[in-house]
Amino acid sequence: MADFEPKIVAFLCNWCAYAGADLAGVSRLQYPSNIRPIRVMCSGRVDPLFIVKAFKEGCDGVLVAG
């Protein structure tokens, strides 16, 4: 498990979390490269089925931020 690198799908709200992730870039804050962001217009858009689908496809974690 030492070299385990999880793949994490992140559903980010366009108006806050996605904007926050953009600002982290402007500030050059460094963080692990494991997340794959998906922009949605609101975290309310995230259907539980999307999360199930992500796990089914083999992702190790799902982040919903908004």
Binding site: K7, V9, N14, Y18, A19, A21, D22, L23, A24, G25, V26, S27, R28, L29, Q30, Y31, P32, S33, R36, P37, I38, R39, V40, M41, C42, G44, R45, V46, D47, P48, L49, F50, K53, A54, E57, G58, C59
Partner: protein, 902 residues
């Protein structure tokens, strides 16, 4: 400036470090800089510390700038702008506690100003958001806030007025600091009066007390570094005793002060200022300066907080819109776009453009590898990399490639869609491609910049991001932003001061306005007011406003009128109203809710039992009618917060302190030998109103700060009224026998407000309407086309009600000014075949954008209202039948991205 792509290379290479003023001097930045990360436009600028400007040598930034954006030969230019009106918003300055070093600010680095503390708390601040003290970077265990630093102070350099914002911000800082340290931090706020008079601020104050923020009413004697390396505060507590306490850190809650730049501007423009160098205005024209055609908003007018500044900015816009109504749209240009190519049914031909962003992407990850990878993806027929995808020449080149390669989908892998999607959408539109067939992969802000230490990982992630975007792009559909006609008229509900103001302004702008009032006269609560705090005659001014409304042919006044039914949405409302038994339907494009509130009638302190006991407005009535039996009054007592700031009604009504002080002064003026007492909890004469409080004390009005935890009793002893309470200062019970007892009672909204449910807009726990955003959208609702102003929003004085009334007119005009309203395509779509009419979507939609209908009597079906929809997709995610999908963010489009991420 057009060439700067904000890559930051210039700042990285610049050898000159200077103190960062944005970080309140706590950190360094370079001589070439952006002021802060969220700056708009995000462009670097060079300040006067530049080595080249001083020595004529260096130009490192110019050498390294990848886009040639630096021009040392640039000179200041003088521009002439022809304008019909001018709005000034130059703001104010902040008090410098080092000027006269009363507070030891310069004696210890651990005595900081509140603005410095804000930066310490900020994640982008000098300590990365860790709460540490500047001297030794250790976590403080005890932090003190000192209120009224530079405010409510007659000493040289300070301002006599109250800055109005510091109490609430200090509470906010204390709560955040406590949350940051998970409660293991002792916080104490040293104050004179806690002035949390804004909407919902009192609740915030109560919350601070509940989480253990200590509030100490006190007078500070000194703040000195102690032998232990801490800071010792000597103060006099509310009982008059000398106390000493040590803290690790002291925050000075600095107030506003005059800005010399603002004053210079005012003088150049010929705008008169008051004794504190604020632009002179009046309660009934709160954003007009003394010079016609020049308007003012924000703290240059007087000290104020964010919501009020935003309200005033809208109010100024309304004044200007009315002034320039004739020339509206006379200079508007329309853009021409080429005809769109129909790609429906064509198999996707995707073009991918990978941006290097100079070295911002190309410097940290392997762009050629990403390009090579993109070529292997399904449906991708063209891939290239650009040095700068957003540059003018590349844009033209992309347009060309789309045409040559017959591309019908375009993916740009570059920065963030939040800033660049509109630009690239325009590029594809120029090639005849629908803008919704464009997609971005964010490989800069969310990849190269944040994984700059690991090129291999960043490259892999960039490939995944491109694959995800390409997968989604293949499923994108052309969409057309629909336009709907706007009924260019307004409905104003409530004929009080705010409603009349809105109606008058909209009518002056040229819009037909229906002004409906429940009672038989216009005027609302203002009919009961004697004078504003600035001494203006309310009845005279109100009569003028009503007369103007009655004379305006654009205004249709309906008194004795109530709303029965509302249907429709932004641009097209139909409202059924009833006037004296007759119903009619009013069609309108926007609605402004100005339904007001009223004075609370108490059931204590002998109110209603003894005619010497009045409410604040009842005293005003006597002053208006000039029938106060002055010869019978030797002693008058005002009691504050009667029915306010209690568990049942935990809000502050904002106006009552000033109202009582104003009337106390009036009584003193009418009969100087009268003994006048004001019994209070916190004296909240905020902003410039502090002058009245000072004047009242100078003229002999006695203020009794009473212990709220001990009973205040009003009784009748034979025929004498008797008021008993416990004074903090005297530490004993005081007893007064007044001939006039005035109870300052709260402003209460109606118990039932059908307007809220008719327009489906929310009320808060106190019964006031809830705006879309407390700070930034204080007039709007989340529901489009409906606005709020006046007491319906929250308790407020005349000038603020008028400003909000004007502001509502301006917000409404943003819709009324156009014949059509363009609706976003990113809305919900209902599949009526799948819909089972459960109504969950209707219930959860915060914007009234989805409703249940039973058009054929065959059971309910959901129907979306695109004009009201904000595209959040909550309905789609919640629908148990998956009968709802979101255009451009369809289930399948999102799922395709999810699959491609793996």
């Amino acid at each position: 400036m057009d060439k700067c792509i904000a890559c930051g290379l210039c700042a990285e290479k610049c050898p000159k470090k200077v103190t960062n003023a944005f970080d309140a001097g706590l950190a360094k930045r370079k001589a070439i800089y952006v002021e802060y990360e969220q700056a708009v436009p995000l462009k670097y600028a060079i300040d006067e510390n530049c080595i080249y400007f001083k020595n004529g040598k260096c130009k490192a930034c110019e050498k390294f700038c990848p886009t040639g954006a630096i021009n040392f030969e640039d000179q200041p230019k003088e521009l002439t702008i022809n304008a019909g009106a001018v709005l000034i918003a130059p703001g104010c300055a902040v008090y410098d506690p080092g000027l006269y070093d009363t507070y030891g600010y310069k004696k210890s680095p651990d005595i900081v100003t509140s603005l410095e503390f804000e930066r310490i708390l900020a994640a982008t601040g000098p300590f990365g958001g860790h709460l540490v003290r500047p001297s030794d970077h250790k976590k403080p265990k005890k932090v003190a806030w000192i209120q009224c630093v530079g405010s409510r102070d007659m000493h040289p350099g300070s301002q006599p007025y109250c800055s109005g914002v510091c109490c609430t911000y200090a509470i906010k800082e204390a709560i955040i600091a406590k949350e940051h340290e998970k409660g293991e931090l002792d916080t104490a706020i040293f104050y004179i009066d806690i002035r949390t008079h804004g909407k919902d601020f009192e609740r915030y104050y109560n919350r601070a007390q509940a989480v253990g923020v200590r509030f100490l009413k006190s007078k500070i004697s000194s703040i000195l570094p102690s032998e232990t390396g801490n800071l010792r505060i000597d103060y006099t507590d509310k009982a008059g005793l000398r106390v000493e306490e040590e803290f690790d850190m002291v925050v000075l809650s600095v107030g506003f002060t005059a800005s010399h730049k603002a004053l210079d501007l005012a003088q150049k423009l010929g705008v008169e200022t008051d004794q504190y160098q604020h632009a002179l205005t009046s309660s009934f024209n709160p954003v007009r300066t003394t010079k016609p055609g020049i308007f003012v908003c924000g703290t240059f007018e007087s000290p104020k907080d964010i919501p009020q500044s935003v309200i005033e900015s809208s109010a100024s816009a309304a004044e200007i819109e009315a002034l320039l109504a004739e020339s509206r749209e006379s200079m508007t240009l329309t853009k021409e776009t080429p005809e769109e190519i129909d790609v429906k049914g064509d198999p996707p031909r995707i073009g991918v453009f990978v941006c290097n962003c100079g070295t911002n992407i190309g410097g940290f990850l392997d762009v050629p590898d990403v390009v090579k990878f993109a070529k292997t993806l399904p449906s991708v027929v063209f891939v290239e990399d650009n040095l700068f995808s957003c540059s003018q020449d590349t844009q033209e080149q992309i347009t060309q490639v789309i045409k040559e390669q017959n591309l019908n989908r375009v993916v740009v892998a570059a920065c963030t869609p939040r800033t660049h999607e509109p630009l690239f959408q325009e590029t594809v539109t120029n090639a005849g491609i629908n803008k919704y067939l464009f997609e971005m992969a964010n490989i800069r802000n969310q990849c190269s910049w944040v994984h700059s230490n690991d090129s291999a990982a960043a490259t892999e992630k960039a490939k995944d991001l491109v694959r995800m975007s390409v997968a989604r792009a293949g499923l994108l559909e052309p969409l057309y932003d629909p336009e709907m006609e706007v009924n260019q008229s307004a409905l104003v509900i409530g004929g009080g001061l705010a409603g009349i103001t809105t109606a008058n302004n909209l009518a002056q702008q040229g819009y037909v306005t229906h002004l409906i009032e429940k009672s038989d006269v216009l005027g609302g609560q203002a009919l009961n007011l004697y004078e504003t705090w600035q001494g203006e005659d309310v009845q005279k001014k109100l009569a003028g406003l009503i007369k103007a409304a009655e004379a305006d042919k654009n205004i249709n006044i309906l008194t004795n009128t109530q709303i029965k039914e509302v249907s429709g949405f932004v641009g097209n409302f139909q409202t059924t109203v009833e006037t004296a038994g007759t119903e009619q339907v009013i069609e309108h494009g926007v609605a402004i809710i100005a339904t007001g509130a009223q004075e609370f009638k108490p059931d204590q302190y002998l109110y209603g039992e003894d005619q010497r006991v009045l409410t604040g407005l009842e005293l005003d009535r006597k002053l208006i009618d000039d029938n106060l039996a002055l010869n019978e009054i030797r002693t008058a007592v005002f009691i504050q917060c009667v029915g306010s700031r209690i568990e049942e009604r935990p809000y502050c009504s904002k106006v009552c302190c000033t109202h009582s002080v104003k009337n106390a002064l009036k009584l003193k003026q009418l009969k100087p030998e009268m003994d006048v007492f004001v019994i209070y909890r916190d004296m909240r004469t905020y902003g410039l109103r502090e002058d009245l409080y000072r004047e009242a004390r100078a003229k002999g009005v006695a203020f009794i700060h009473y212990d709220f935890d001990k009973e205040l009793v009003v009784s009748k002893n034979q025929n004498d009224l008797n008021v008993r309470c416990t004074s903090y200062v005297l530490q004993r019970e005081v007893e007064i026998n007044p001939d006039l007892l005035v109870l300052a009672t709260p402003i209460v909204p109606p118990r039932e407000n059908p307007v809220a449910s008719l327009f489906k807009v929310p009320l808060n726990d106190d019964g006031f309407f809830v705006e879309a955003h407390v700070k930034l959208q204080p007039i709007d609702f989340a529901t489009k086309g409906v606005f709020v102003c006046g007491l319906a929003h929250s308790p407020k004085p005349v000038d603020e009600a008028i400003a909000q009334g004007l502001g509502a007119a301006s917000r409404a005009a943003t819709i009324l000014a156009k014949d059509t309203v363009q609706i976003s395509s990113l809305v919900s779509q209902v599949d009526v075949e799948k819909c089972i009419g459960c109504g969950l979507c209707d219930e959860i939609c915060a914007f009234n954008a989805i409703i249940l209908e039973d058009p054929e009597g065959k059971g309910y079906k959901a129907k979306n209202i695109p004009a009201s929809c904000k595209g959040c997709g909550l309905c789609a995610a919640s629908c148990p039948q998956q009968a709802i999908d979101m255009l451009h963010f369809r289930d399948q489009q999102i799922i395709e991205s999810v699959c491609a991420a793996m």
